[in-house]
């Protein structure tokens, strides 16, 4: 169709620094977001996502400064998620140089927030992040609920219906994380990804569980994802983004090389 499937490395940041061990061999300071973002850009990342895990509200200013610093030197789309609760938060991040923001808990607490945000800054800026977990019995039709609080709290809301509602409220994209697969390295939840991709008319980013390059391919070909997000396989240089793209291309997927 002419549109490349996107590969998006995801970085956890705390107090304006990248955490959770990014270990590039030739990077002097493994926590420097600018250096790491520049590296991913050079490798061919199609976007970069920062997940802000800063606990205290006060320290969030450091995230804004980090976005400013990265946006001065890296000229591909930047998404920032985590802890975004108000339109003012969104404005601040976009003015700092972010292109999109990820909204998760605040959308569940108040869906109108998504509408208000989208009306104000445009749906192209609004990514609704969904943490989904399978809750159906093994022999029953599949059903996934959305969970909040890092996957501990079941909201009782059906993930697919929620995504459709968020699309109607003005989400421009869905970042779908499988809580069952996150951190397992067993691959995406492909059934969930496919169901989600079929359920909405906006792009879906698959996340959670990538352990090798075939998982990225499967996310697109079987899951129907428009983009694939991964963290650890890139952080430790098991694979470069360039290798991931080569592999996807060899498997018939259109990528930007």
């Amino acid at each position: 169709m002419g549109l490349a499937k996107r590969i998006i490395p995801c970085l956890d940041v705390d107090g304006g620094r990248v955490v959770k061990g990014v270990k590039f061999v030739d990077i002097r300071d493994a926590g420097d977001p600018v250096e790491i973002a520049r590296r991913y850009d050079q490798e061919g990342a199609d976007e970069i996502t920062f997940l802000d895990i800063t606990a205290s509200h006060h320290d969030r200013d450091t995230t804004v400064h980090m976005v400013e610093a990265v946006a001065e030197q890296v000229f591909i789309p930047l998404t920032v998620g985590g802890g975004i609760r108000t339109v003012e938060n969104i404005r601040t991040l976009l003015c700092a140089g972010a292109d999109k923001v990820g909204i998760n808990t605040a959308a569940v607490a108040n869906p109108e927030f998504v509408r208000e945000a989208s009306d104000t800054v445009g749906n192209q800026c609004i990514v609704v992040a969904i943490d989904a977990k399978q809750i159906s019995a093994p022999d029953a039709p599949s059903r996934w609920d959305i969970f909040t609080h890092g996957g501990r709290k079941d909201t009782g809301i059906d993930a697919l219906e929620w995504a459709q509602k968020m699309e109607a409220y003005g989400a421009g994209e869905i970042l779908l994380t499988s809580m069952d697969r996150d951190g397992t390295r067993e691959g995406f939840d492909l059934e969930l990804t496919r169901a989600m991709s079929d359920a909405v008319g906006i792009p879906v980013i698959a996340s959670g569980g990538v352990g090798n390059l075939q998982h990225l391919v499967d996310g697109v070909t079987e899951g129907g994802a428009d983009a694939v997000l991964a963290a650890s396989i890139f952080h430790f240089q098991e694979y470069t983004i360039g290798e991931a793209k080569q592999y996807m291309q060899q498997n018939g997927i259109e990528v930007r090389l």
Binding site: A4, Q73, A227
Partner: protein, 212 residues
Amino acid sequence: MQTVAIVDFSFGNLRSVHNALRSLAEPGTDIRIATEPADIEQADRIVFPGQGAARHCMLALRQKSLADAVLDAAQSRPFLGICMGMQVLMEYSEENDGVDCLGLFSGRVQAFAPHVERGSGFKIPHMGWSRIEQTPHPLWENILDQSRFYFVHSYYTAPRDEEAIAGRTDYVLPFASVIAKDQVFAMQSHPEKSGEHGLTLLRNFLNWDGQC
């Protein structure tokens, strides 16, 4: 030394455009965010980026009395439209139940949605990296034909005049992703977010004399 004005008429990400131009411009270049007509009138070249909805953008242009200065600049100095800054150069946009635009180019801005069937695999917004098939123009210098640029949009530009098309992209349907006329070059994609190729295009723009 030259002055480059980035026109502020929407809630767009002006900082990224500013950052990208800053990183490319020669030392001493004055790159400023233009919020009033005088800023545009004094500039040697104009960058006209935009994001958000057409109605809001046109309203902002009129409320800030920028529309005349923008039209004047587009007919006299090198002028680069980006995203919504391309769309509002047309006569009319279908967005927001219909909005009259600046009319520098004849033709309309139309929605992808009526052309998309669910299950077709096409998602709206068109978001990501698509190829641009170039029509010869000085701003394509050192950029390979069919290079990919970063797009985010739900409406596309349909110029009436074939000769105005400086680039074509295929998503849902083939559409004019770049239009150009005299000293105006306007593109749907975001050069400030399109990595190497986008930076090359912006550099070409900074050095362009406005001749085709």
